[in-house]
Assembly symmetry: D2
Homo-oligomer: 138 residues x 4
């Protein structure tokens, strides 16, 4: 299913996230994407924590990042997260990170897989999740 849902959230670049170039280290963006993803799921009404409580894990199977403008210490970054597709056991998210001057810092995407904690095998998205997301199907 194609999905049309987006969430905006904000975080500040921490000092420990900078590197000696003076920029936020490129490895931090996976965590920034995760913050966006977690807030998107929370807004939909099915937090990632509840999903795990329902016996479902969502490991990441692919990540792509395009770095555009360096993020600097103490920048307040806006993370826009779009849920774009659910297909079989897979769910796709796109991300756009902007700084306070509205310049694009990075864009990216991830594909995650619904996995049963019990069997450790991919599964269809659980009903508790499709119940809350189906209103965003397009």
């Amino acid at each position: 299913m194609q999905v049309d849902f987006s969430n905006q959230t904000t975080l500040r670049v921490r000092y420990g996230e900078t590197d000696q170039m003076g920029y936020s280290y490129y490895g931090n963006y996976a965590e920034y994407f995760e913050v966006g993803r977690v807030e998107a799921l929370r807004e939909i009404g099915m937090s990632y924590k509840s999903l795990e409580a329902h016996g479902v894990m969502l490991p990441v199977s692919e990540m792509h990042v395009h770095y555009k403008t360096p993020a600097k210490y103490d920048d307040a970054l806006n993370i826009e997260t779009r849920i774009v597709e659910i297909k079989g056991a897979r769910i796709s998210f796109n991300y756009t990170i902007r700084n306070e001057e509205d310049a694009i810092v990075a864009t990216g995407s991830t594909i995650l897989v619904f996995v049963s904690k019990e069997t450790m095998r991919p599964i269809q998205p659980p009903k508790v999740f499709t119940d809350v997301i189906e209103k965003y199907y397009v």
Copy 2:
């Protein structure tokens, strides 16, 4: 230029790198790739540290990761890093991470850009670097 150079290095998954799924967090792979890249450059004879001392930075402009098999705490991971291409100001690396059973944990790639510390603009790879890498041009 197409390049044919590869390096193998090993690292152990640290406890702090695991998450509550019991796997190495997906955001750590950027750092694992960097460890591989740094050792590849060191083996070629031009460490990343020397590059910076020559006024050249190498920020990452793209990263792609495919996660195959979870890495677990204390796994000794083998990182194979291939330098595959230098084109204008850009240099491309491919990575394959394997565990002790020789299963593929992840594959990925990054594109980095040679940037002058003085002007902060993309530049051709400096002569000190092409001098050591040109023997691997194919």
Copy 3:
């Protein structure tokens, strides 16, 4: 000088911060303390970023942490930061981190040193800083 100033700020435990015990890894608390410290300085009116812009760095010389109750994924932690003393080139902060049930997650302290970026030597706190903090001297 003894100082009496405190700030409260909140952060959420990120998934990548958990470890396979299911708790926020003990190494993250340095970063949590830093978030508290940065917000305390911002509230006083002299952000850490401005301090660096004035040629002053604040490296940490000591840290002490007592871990009381594990913090878990998605917990919203309250960080209370107290500036307690400025003595020569040194400034001391105390921290108390609480979870949503108001249980104490951790307490700790850090001592930081005012250092000139130019000489890399310890210096007295700069006037731009004492101007804003002296109203909290006790």
Copy 4:
């Protein structure tokens, strides 16, 4: 019991571990101490991984760090870890980190607690552990 056992291990400061001061971020030392601790336990013959497999966790209850000389990118750090005491459910480690010029980068200590995974309560060190460490009692 007082214990007299020490282990030496080495690690390289990663680029992502530096901050914009150009030093390894102060929060990384918890992870450096953990690397030392893990190698000390491995040398004794009871890896931390085996301990967890025996149903025992070792959360940290206290950490103290004194930062002496900044560690820089690509520095090969020597971590000396001493197991100093086992008292009730608690085990104490001391650490000294040195750089390639043999300057002391940091010293520190941690206290960890043996905890049953089943009951989540502190327990006496398990026999599999005391069997291997008792030869170092003093």
